[in-house]
Amino acid sequence: MAKQVVSVTVNGEPYEVLVDSRISLLQLLREHLGLTGTKEGCSEGECGACSVVLNGRLVDSCLILAMEAKGGRVETIEGLAHDGELHPVQRAFVDQGGVQCGFCTPGMIMASKVLLDEIPQPTEDQIRQALGGNLCRCTGYAKIIDAVLAAAAMRTQG
């Protein structure tokens, strides 16, 4: 079995893990690092439940070999809150009712955060485009979009 050591920084913390060449980044995060906030939805790169930020880009971690993340920087949902304070995007999802079963939520929040970092005041259309790779079976998306708009509004308030 081909194993290698993967050195990767996750949410600012350095990790070194000996892994099989076949495991995905998603498996590395969940099963080896205990970071189970990122979810396994379809395992085919269609639903976005596994969305994380790798080297500054929003990606589906289920389609990436852990090996490909060697030497990389990963940001997951666990990295958003600081000192027990929710990130504004997390706060907005809770306040607006953008969370029902919660399974799509970490991926939705990562995608929303990436959008707002790039476009602080997005239009509804831009939000729909940005979240196009994240599926939700519960909410019908309306309150998710409200949450992103609310998070954007919070930023203008400082």
Partner: protein, 288 residues
């Protein structure tokens, strides 16, 4: 997945060496959005996987001559979609790249990988065919450049030998009054195309000098529509002529029934998308 050794080339040359040494037992990994799933489903069972992303500097989108572009083997679909150079000279390609999967997909998937995967429905293929792209194939023995029209040989099959990889895609600078457009029909944005079409034409004194129409998901490979093209060449592009060319393109398509759609619907849509593509390409050509 079958067990494999993950290899990290420091250069394209090293990748070619390994590709040669392990030929027949090795796969080249770029974005992985297609390859990962094929490994998982045991469609491919290589002993070695070469991660081409580890060789620096291969993700380029570089200017070529007066408005042409060279696309590196690990250049991302997302970067192609957003590139001012591509949007200016090859808008149909930028539009096509925007259709690929989701943002998450486009942050990993590569244009070259899309071509090498060689799905008959590959999103970037029709636009690249219509713009006259060339593909540079490289191996330890040297390089050869072929037109993209010769690259696809069957569903999922390309002209690559098992010790070759695609080192670059080159699109020559377009002629002065060139317009291009891309249209796609699909059930949802994340689905594989039901049918897609790209049209590129250029004008000289109001006459259509050159016309290229390429269709996706309506044949065993992405294909050109030569009879439709010929109808336009050297003619004034009237609405009537565009309608005639669209009709011919629909005749030249070779669609099948499958899970996504029927041959009948696809053939019908080839005519519609070709008409829209030619109309928009003409507007864009006139605007230059």
């Amino acid at each position: 997945m079958k067990d494999f050794e993950y290899l990290e080339p420091t250069s394209l040359q090293q990748a070619l060496e390994w590709l040669n040494t392990y030929r027949g037992r090795v796969r080249v990994l770029a974005g992985g959005t297609d390859l990962f799933l094929r490994l998982k489903k045991h469609v491919f069972t290589p002993d070695y996987v070469i991660d081409l992303k580890r060789a620096p500097g291969l993700d380029y989108l570089a200017s070529e001559g007066q408005g042409g572009v060279r696309i590196g083997p690990t250049a991302l679909q997302g970067d192609v979609a957003r590139s001012p150079l591509v949007q200016r000279s090859f808008p149909a390609l930028a539009e096509a790249a925007r259709w690929v999967g989701s943002i998450q997909t486009r942050n990993r998937a590569t244009v070259v990988g899309n071509l090498c995967n060689a799905s008959p429905a590959a999103d970037t293929a029709p636009a690249l065919l219509a713009y006259g792209a060339q593909v540079k194939l490289a191996s330890l023995q040297g390089e050869r450049t072929i037109p993209l029209t010769d690259f696809f040989v069957g569903p999922g099959r390309t002209a690559l030998q098992d010790n070759e990889l695609v080192a670059e895609v080159v699109i020559p600078a377009p002629a002065p009054q060139t317009g291009g457009a891309f249209f796609r029909r699909t059930r949802t944005a994340m689905d594989i195309a039901v049918v897609c079409a790209a049209a590129v034409l250029n004008l000289t004194n109001g006459t259509c000098q050159e016309a290229r129409i390429a269709l996706g998901a309506v044949g065993p490979t992405p294909l050109r529509a030569p009879r439709a093209e010929q109808a336009l060449r050297g003619q004034a592009p009237t609405e009537q002529l565009i309608e005639e060319a669209s009709r011919l393109a629909a005749e030249e398509a070779r669609p099948i029934d499958d899970v996504r759609s029927t041959a009948e619907y696809r053939r019908e849509m080839v005519q519609v998308l070709t008409r829209r593509g030619l109309t928009q390409a003409l507007e864009r050509a006139r605007a230059r």
